[in-house]
């Protein structure tokens, strides 16, 4: 197990290093540079100003040299300054990463706790009323444009009903727990919709597979209650493919978060990366992308561990044949 983990961590580091180089190269292909942006629309900036600012931002050096400088700095823990925020990138990204993780974590929890019961309900009688309804909802969930959903949520719950705030992190001057929670409701709901649909579909499929297995028939024959059959035997074994999907879906969750953060003015990573790319803030974009990648890689490793912990075949041989 330890050897395996070390190997996975090593692989992750290699992926990160490759990512850093590729992304740095892509960022060098960005149109214009940060200084060009300052020019737009201001008739007073002169070429001398441009040359001065460009040298100031180190933009007059060749690509490999810039990457080399950045990489050596990064190894020593210096990731540089964000141009947009005039602050060290980690200071900018740290709190935002936490915000994003909170948003994604809650959406994930919500998705799991809705999707698992729903998938079991659907798998109990494939083709039945409940199954069809759940199936329809799932398809709707993965087919709705996310920003459109967010807008509808705002219009319905914030403007028409006035139940939840339309956006932001907290009411200025309040910032209590209840207030923060209220601000999280709509973003979390919006973000969770696609995941709920995704998990439910896979959960349902896995449950149907499992429920056809012999040991379920055996359990039923032994007179176990339906609930025991479904939850203890079925659910546990259906969990593995679902966990795999969840791990793979983590990257998608990040993507969804970007949209949700933009719509709800929520200060998260996705939005920051987007702003950094659009604002030619190379350092911020690069480190942001690397952090996002690390998080997804970590989630994948975590899923692997979970996978090993609940491996069905081990349990199966232990219990089913007894």
């Amino acid at each position: 197990m330890t050897g395996y983990l070390v190997r996975r961590l090593g692989q992750a580091l290699v992926v990160l290093w490759v990512m850093s180089f590729v992304t740095y190269g892509l960022l060098a292909l960005m149109p214009g540079d940060p200084v060009d942006l300052m020019l737009s629309g201001d008739p007073n900036v002169t070429t001398a100003d441009v040359a001065r600012l460009r040298a100031l931002h180190g933009l007059d050096q060749p690509f490999l040299e810039r990457y080399g400088n950045w990489f050596m700095g990064a190894l020593q823990g210096d990731f540089g300054y964000s141009r947009l925020f005039s602050a060290p990138v980690l200071d900018v990204l740290g709190p935002r990463l936490l915000n994003s993780l909170l948003l994604m974590g809650l959406a994930f929890l919500l998705a799991v706790s809705v999707a698992l019961p729903a998938s079991i309900a659907a798998a109990r009688r494939p083709g039945g009323m409940a199954d069809r309804l759940i199936n329809l909802l799932c398809f709707a969930g993965i087919s709705v444009p996310p920003f459109w959903l967010a807008l509808l949520m705002i219009l319905l719950f914030a403007v028409s009903l006035g139940l939840f705030p339309a956006g932001g992190m907290a009411t200025v001057g309040d910032g209590g727990l209840g207030d923060r929670a209220a601000h999280l409701v709509l973003p979390v709901l919006t973000l969770a919709v696609a995941s709920i649909a995704q998990y439910t579909r896979h959960g349902r499929a896995a449950m149907i597979e499992v429920l056809r297995e012999d040991y379920i028939r055996t359990a039923r024959a032994k007179g176990a209650t339906e609930r025991t059959v479904l939850w203890r035997h079925g659910f546990r074994n259906a969990l593995i493919p679902v966990v795999t999907i969840m791990a793979l879906d983590f990257g998608a969750l990040f993507s969804g978060a970007l949209i949700v953060e933009t719509m709800f003015a929520y200060l998260g990573m996705g939005k920051t990366i987007y702003d950094a790319v659009m604002g030619n803030d190379y350092n911020l974009a690069l480190v942001g992308l690397l952090l996002a990648t690390s998080v997804t890689l970590a989630a994948n490793i975590a899923a692997d561990i979970a996978y090993a912990l609940i491996d069905p075949r081990i349990r199966l041989t232990g219990r089913g044949r007894a």
């Binding site: 459109w148 807008l151 993507s255 790319v277």
Partner: protein, 306 residues
């Protein structure tokens, strides 16, 4: 249905199974209607006596009327015609991008599955890597780079349709993973089967074995993956448009129409509701169809339903 000739017996059963699937049939009819309407837009325009680009400043955001069945948009263009034109673009992009992604995925899947060993390991690690990355932020970087700096010819970069090619290319670049895995899986299970062994024993060249024998038998997962991908691409185009990186006006697409209309949601909600609904309908239809195809083509589905 050209697939039917490849492997007659099970396919016919598959088609009748598909027909029995209510939601898949409905989806198919819906999609056929959408495609027909969008690609027949000039005929519709001729019948109504209007087109998607005529501007009438004196008839802005008008309610539905005989001349404009869905009303007009914020600069007085016919909304129905715009939706049909936008649909043609969105559906074309969806199909083209899905087809390219599937093509790449199939080639990678075939070679990984057939070769096995090191090539397989590398390709599949690559697929795993691409799947597990936070894709949207990466795609933003890809979509935001300056095409002129990548050495593409300026005539291409400056053509009006460049944003279309760009989105197709980007999706093809990252969308191949699902197909690749499916195809690889199919090839792995087929590789050791008798008829492949026989073909190999006859000394047929690998390319012939791959394309004549393996590919047709892996056709069903490819078809399913492609159908599902089309829906995803349409959805994805709308998301990129929302971020300002999708298809650029004046070319209409459902995604950029929806994005443009959300600013005016409280004034003319229908401008946003229609493209939103059409995206939703098209995507859900492609998903249902893909799902239905999967059930119909998957032999195990029979047991499941029975």
């Amino acid at each position: 249905m050209s697939m039917a000739s490849l492997q007659p017996a099970p396919r016919r059963g598959a088609f009748s199974r598909l027909k029995r699937n209510g939601s898949a049939t409905t989806s198919m009819i819906l999609l056929a209607c959408l495609l027909l309407a969008c690609f027949g837009a000039p005929l519709v325009g001729a019948a109504l006596g209007t087109d998607a680009t005529s501007i009438d400043l004196f008839n802005i955001s008008a309610p539905p009327s005989a001349a404009h069945p869905l009303g007009t948009d914020e600069i007085g263009r016919d909304l129905l015609m715009r939706l049909l034109d936008g649909g043609r673009v969105s559906l074309t992009v969806g199909i083209a991008a899905a087809a390219s992604a599937t093509l790449i995925g199939t080639l990678i899947g075939l070679s990984a599955g057939y070769r096995g060993g090191f090539a397989d390991a590398v390709l599949m690690r690559l697929a795993d890597g691409v799947i597990s990355l936070p894709l949207l932020p990466l795609l933003i970087v890809l979509a935001a780079i300056d095409p002129a700096k990548t050495g593409l010819p300026p005539e291409l970069v400056q053509s009006e349709g460049f944003s279309l090619y760009r989105i197709v290319a980007i999706i093809a670049l990252v969308g191949w993973t699902t197909t690749a895995r499916l195809v690889r899986g199919a090839v792995l299970s087929l590789r050791e089967r008798d008829f492949i062994e026989a073909a190999r024993a006859q000394g047929l060249p690998p390319s012939r074995i791959l394309f004549r024998h393996l590919l047709p038998n892996a056709a069903s997962p490819i078809l399913v993956a492609m159908t599902l991908t089309i829906g995803n691409v349409i959805l994805f185009e709308s998301v990129l448009s929302f971020l300002g990186l999708g298809i650029q006006p004046p070319i209409p697409s459902w995604g950029n129409m929806l994005t443009g209309a959300q600013d005016l949601i409280s004034v003319s909600p229908m401008l946003a509701i229609w493209p939103g609904l059409l995206i939703f309908a098209a995507v859900i239809a492609f998903n249902f169809l893909g799902d239905g195809l999967q059930d119909a083509l998957d032999p195990r589905a029979q047991n499941r339903r029975g």
